[in-house]
């Protein structure tokens, strides 16, 4: 247990910092002109510096380094306010790691380098209009054809960045509904396949990052199956494990926002002398340390094959609680201004209201708070299934 870097880690951190301060600064897309092409370019720049795929094998364009090195990169990029764009994060932080666990060597060779170079943007096709928390109830069906290929039909929803994606990690039913999660298969689907259509959804924040994706008799070769027929549930669990274990960028934003809020409180005598405000500010500061420390504790825990520990399952709940606490304090502190959206209060010049809406999103994303509690009750306390 140590909070200091080893000599080697310290040298690595310095190299990362130096790149961020010089070349990184030059290549970072400015906030005004940010769009998909620029985000891809940023990932390409990061790859040039060896700052994506830090733990991935060198054969696929990775660096073959330890999770500790990866944590250093994530922390430094987040600290500099120059993170991996969320749209690229699906491929780099969720799909890529899942491919490394579940993919065949051919699939890994074909797909991983394009994720690292920013050439391929990925989305997830998991939830459906009638299957969210109960993911095993999905109805999208992949029917196998006599030649071994599949035909896929169905509708997916809450697919982040599907409108900008090249590929979709799709869960479809390949067996009877009664077989539940054992009859689900995962497919690697090019978004350009005939029969795939995308409809953007406007979110509460006003942005359109979410989409509905429709599959109408989409033809897929047998090589599109990831980790074999009926293995889709395992792939989904791996992907969700990674989705729930990384909050570096969010935490860096949280820290900036917390300082901004503290300045507002300090400037107003009525607020800074209010014991309730001070106590909640202390709570938010503590939450920040707790989520940071829990990610640090989980740093070495990268094998989703085993049972996830209680701390791993708790992380999502802790993060959600932290962001809810901070944003609700901010809205209370704003007083009458809470009814009006104004910019430049928080990181990237967004409004506090947007941050509050995002907090509500976090309580559902990657498995709802209630599902996380149920899983924790079953896996860590050994309680009977509630459903």
């Amino acid at each position: 247990m140590r909070i200091e870097d080893t000599v080697e880690e310290a040298a690595y951190r310095n190299r990362v910092r130096e790149w961020i301060a010089t070349e990184g600064r030059d290549q970072w897309p400015t906030a005004a002109g940010r769009e998909s092409a620029e985000e891809r370019h940023w990932v390409q720049a990061l790859q040039g510096a060896g700052l994506v795929g830090v733990t991935w094998p060198e054969t696929y364009g990775g660096q073959g380094l330890s999770p500790g090195h990866e944590a250093i990169v994530a922390a430094e990029l987040a600290e500099a306010g120059m993170p991996i764009p969320t749209s690229m994060g699906v491929g780099l932080n969720m799909v890529g790691p899942a491919l490394l666990v579940h993919g065949s060597p051919e699939q890994q060779r074909q797909l991983l380098p394009a994720i690292l170079s920013g050439a391929a943007v990925w989305c997830e096709g998991f939830s459906e209009p009638d299957a969210g928390s109960d993911l095993a109830a999905i109805r999208t069906r992949a029917t196998s054809q006599p030649d071994g290929s599949y035909r896929v039909s169905g509708a997916k929803v809450w697919c982040s960045f599907a409108h900008a994606s090249d590929w979709c990690l799709l869960l479809a039913r390949t067996g009877a509904r009664e077989h539940g999660s054992r009859a689900i298969t995962c497919f690697l689907v090019p978004m350009t396949s005939p029969g795939v259509s995308v409809r953007p959804l406007r979110q509460i924040t006003g942005e359109s990052e979410f989409n509905e994706v429709f599959f109408d008799e989409v033809e897929l070769p047998s090589s599109a199956v990831l980790d074999g027929p009926g293995r889709g549930w395992a792939v989904a669990m791996t992907t969700l494990f990674y989705e729930r274990s990384r909050y570096h960028d969010q935490l860096a934003g949280f820290a900036v926002n917390l300082s901004g809020l503290a300045r507002r409180v300090a400037a107003d005598p009525k607020l800074r002398d209010d014991a309730r405000v001070l106590e909640r500010l202390a709570g938010a500061w503590t939450d920040l340390q707790i989520v940071r420390a829990t990610m640090l504790r989980l740093g070495q825990e990268r094998d989703p094959g085993g049972t996830t520990t209680a701390a791993g399952l708790a992380l999502k709940l802790l993060w959600t609680g932290a962001i809810e606490g901070l944003t609700s304090l901010a809205l209370d502190v704003l007083g009458p201004m809470a009814a009006v959206e104004s910019s430049d209060e928080t990181v990237d010049g967004h409004s506090w209201q947007r941050e509050l809406f995002l907090a509500q999103m976090w309580a559902v994303a990657g498995g709802s708070t209630e599902i996380a509690r149920s899983v924790l009750a079953e896996q860590s306390l050994g309680l009977p299934r509630s459903r």
Binding site: L278, Q289, A314, S374, L376, L381
Partner: protein, 345 residues
Amino acid sequence: MDLELSEDQRSLKALVADFGRDWATSSDPAGQTSPDAWRRLAGLGVFELADVEVGTGGIVEQVIVAEELGRVLLGAQYAFTASYVVPLLSLATDGEIAPVILGNRRVSFAGSGRRVVSAGCDLSGEWDLVPGFEPTDAYLLVEDVGAVARIWLAAADDSGVSAEPLHDLDLGSTTVNLRFCQTPSWLVAEVPREQLVSSHQRARLLIAAELIGVAEAAIRAAAEYAKVRVAFGKPIGSYQGVSHPLAGSLAQLEGVRSLLYLTACHLEADTTDAAMLSLAVKARAGAVAVEATGRALHTFGGIGFTWEHPIHRYHRRAIAANATAGSSFELGHQLGLEALACLTR
């Protein structure tokens, strides 16, 4: 950077856990730690960890010990002995420390009091709410003289000592109001008052560790009960109204445990963040443990608030430990002021 336990730390955890299980099955249900049990605990070497003369650091190890003792409600005296008694007595030049480390001498720490004055080797003063041993062999006391803290040691059986026992909420604790009237005492050391700050920080950290142990044991006991207690034809643990509060508390406890390890590392490395972190970890551990033990007690239904079942002892201990060395209510406010200053610097 990592917050993993080393192999040695894991064996220490297992060693203390074994001791705790053994103690829990053989102990007096009234909950006081007997001199014999204390000697056996000391026999594990747990107080050598706190002796600055023996080795530096050891804070992570102390946290592990405190958490494991908390699980069997044996943590009450450990934190004070490890944070104050051992480090302060080890400043003495002669052999006062040896019997403490061996567990043969049980010293209660009284801290700073009111109207404390010394004349030669005679000490007078009033110390309220002193947490201690029953029986206790000696008291360790602080006399504040300007920027200096004089550390005094006095035998508990001296006729000049009056210790009025209070009615403790926690059955394993003995709190007294202490009165000294020209009591013969021995001056252990004179130290700058700031030197006590690190002991205060360590005490908060170790009581936080104990609280985590107490609360997790209570939550796990409640979960075991929820597996076997049937209502409406099913074990009550299958109802989310029962399981979710327990799971929620477990998640909170895991979070505080992460903070505990982080804070231990910062105290060991003596960083500038250590002060705020030690406030944060005690404040949060207290609040989370009181809530968790309350939820655990509630899970047992009617029997939970009777003496037929020991779960009430966990709730009592959590409330008492939260109130000791700064409650979540007090420390939360203090941390708020410090966070405001730190974030706007």
